[in-house]
Amino acid sequence: MPDKTRLQLYIPKPQARPGEPVNFDGLVVPEAGSVRRPDPLGCEADMRDMPFSLVRVLDEGGHAVGPWAPDVSPDLLRKGLRAMLQTRLFDDKLFRLQRQGKTSFYMKSTGEEAIGAAQSLMLGQGDMCFPTYRVLSWLMARDYPLINLVNQLFSNEKDPLKGRQLPVLYSARDYGFYSLSGNLGSRFGHAVGWAMASAYRNDDKIALGYVGEGTTAEGDFHEALTFAGVYHAPAILCVTNNQWAISTFAGIANPRDTTFAAKAIGYGIPGLRVDGNDFLAVCAATQWAAERAHANLGSTLIEFFTYRAAGHSTSDDPTKYRPVDEPVHWPLGDPIVRLKTHLITIGEWDEARHDALTAELTEEINAAVREGEAVGTLGKSKPPVAEMFEGVFKEPDWRVIEQRKELGI
């Protein structure tokens, strides 16, 4: 019988809270280019080291180095930069508009723009992304009309979702962007089912699922991975580890000793851990996983290691629960700056073009906002009230028909 000492309940704590010095000790960041690239068609059992490293391509000098450096055109990189910048500027603008009461709610993806943008550009038009609320850059990379975003954010008459859904919870089928909802994690399994359907139909489409690192604690996450592993679903399943879940640090979702990518091992699928602030690394990992999925070898779990530089949403103040300067000390840098530097380094971009792009995008956003404001902002305009009663079922039943009459519309 073991010696019985008195037990103690362990409650994990983040390395720093407000007033304490920022502390990223223990965060091991391998050199860009130092991590091996297994054959994407190889055997999962030979890749169990991958979740414990960190795939990085862009080095300090802005060069793309190592076996993961992807073969992508400067054009694609510029498209990516544009989408990321557009996302950043749009977020800033809309955050301010929320403060003015023009929308009820807003969420930024500051610092995480590389992920959606790179994946959007690497995947095909028919592929389907099952997003979280922090993947706006996917839509930006596919030129989703800004006015649609604005109209939904203003919940006005032209809201493409007809006034039924919260701002930021978009749906854009034609852009490969599945319907968002407030419930965390509950669409991860839809991505797997969608991918299984594509395989069932002998199609060539693949699915992309996202959850935040906090959301990995939901049962849905596990159930989706179980299905993905068992049926070899052609899906890329991503955990965006931005270190925070509202006020809660990542250590409340998973102990520090392991990684989110390591969860893959228990489902028999490869797990990659990737620098999410490195546009090229995101491209490379996505391409790797897509190649594997297309080869009928099933899913890959990718942990994108990144940092939520802004608050969770318009409803919280992050300086209440983490050091005010934590974002600026994030060791993996700003994804926009890093991609910009790379493009300049390879001679495909310069400061002047960057400034011009910024000005152009700002004007596009302002124009869209003006157009949306002309239709109306929150409470000033809304879709026809009849839309409240439509779409519950394909055909309305007597209850909503009667109730609509009762409301007199």
């Binding site: 039924r164 089928r173 599945y178 399994g189 089912g193 069932y200 007597w398």
Partner: protein, 337 residues
């Protein structure tokens, strides 16, 4: 026409659907090689192939999530949850996702899945193999809930459910899979053989969702029931000697309100019967609707005969089950006033 029990009728509905629509597929725990613990999917894998009818992990949430994703892609999945009691781990998927997808996406996506599940008591299944959770589905906007009471309806309603573009919870009263049950456990088991509703056309047909059946026309009192309780109520009515009108709701969402209201306006009296526990059960909605719409026609309080407000107790199955004696008492009390 062939004489089928409910299992055969359901199996036949699935067989026809798999054969005619390549976008339908079936999965669930033990439904593949084994054909389901109640044999409803028997031989379907062998006949239609491994990818058309296959085993799923023990993960009700995962099953329904995958089915929603398949539905969003364009398939028409039919999943089995082994017992209705085990739908609960998937309740969030049904409520927050399947039921809401069309509405929240402005019609861009929808989930035309059918969730089949053996349901109800009377088989000594104890707490977790006997429950009747229909009320927690009925309250959910965007979900349809169907409960057949005989082989003919079972087949026609199941095909209609699968063809429906909305998510449907299809609850199969397991006590009457093999024969009608009139609530008298001491009597010999009956089979479906010879029952008029066991005559099932061999080809494709549907029974529309939202249309009740008048199982027995009558003038003195209206009895509302569904599933197993249709048979129990019929037997109680016969024993009571009353000229009661028995309505088999067949689906509770959509609900055939017109048939119900017309009957109660005619009889002025109503008794509602269900196996589920009473408090906040579906009988409450029926009662509320009727008093709202037939207030001036009602001659007596609407009665409810339901499971008691306790969990489903194993050894007390027949004390718990709302059998003919309790229904007769309620009928008499409805007539007295």
């Amino acid at each position: 026409m062939a004489s089928m029990n409910m299992i055969q009728a359901l199996n036949n509905a699935l067989d026809i659907t798999l054969a005619s629509d390549p976008d339908t597929l079936i999965f669930g725990e033990d439904v593949g090689y084994f054909g389901g613990v109640f044999r409803v999917t028997d031989k379907l894998q062998e006949k239609h192939g491994l990818t058309r009818c296959f085993d799923a992990p023990i993960s009700e949430g995962g099953i329904i999530a995958a089915a929603i994703g398949m539905g969003a892609y364009g398939l028409r999945p039919v999943v089995e949850i082994q017992f209705a009691d085990y739908i609960l781990p998937a309740y969030d998927q049904l409520v927050s996702e399947a039921a809401r997808l069309r509405y929240r996406s402005g019609g861009e996506f929808w989930a035309p899945l059918t969730v089949r599940s053996p349901y109800g008591g009377g088989i000594f299944g104890g707490q977790t193999h006997s429950q009747s959770p229909e009320a927690i589905f009925a309250h959910i906007t965007g979900l349809k809930t169907v409960i057949p009471s005989n082989p003919y309806d079972a087949k026609g309603l199941l095909i209609a459910a699968i063809e429906c573009d909305d998510p449907v919870v299809f609850l199969e009263p397991k006590r009457i899979y093999n024969g009608p049950f009139d609530g008298r456990p001491d009597q010999a088991m009956k089979t479906w053989a010879g029952h008029k509703d066991a005559e099932v056309p061999e080809g494709h047909y549907t029974v529309p969702l939202g249309k009740a059946a008048i199982t027995r026309p009558g003038s003195e009192v209206t009895v509302l029931a569904y599933g197993t309780m249709v048979h129990v109520a019929l037997s109680a009515i016969e024993e009571s000697g009353l000229d009661a009108e028995l309505i088999d709701l067949r689906s509770i969402v959509p609900l055939d309100i017109d048939t119900i209201v017309a009957s109660v306006k005619k009889t002025g009296r109503c008794v509602i019967v269900h196996e589920a526990s009473r408090f906040s059960g579906f009988g409450a909605e029926l009662s509320a609707l009727i008093q709202e719409r037939c207030f001036y026609h009602l001659k007596a309080p609407i009665g409810r005969v339901c499971g008691w407000d306790t969990p489903y107790p194993h050894a007390f199955e027949w004390d718990y089950f709302p059998g003919p004696a309790r229904i007769i008492r309620a009928l008499n009390s409805a007539m007295e006033n």
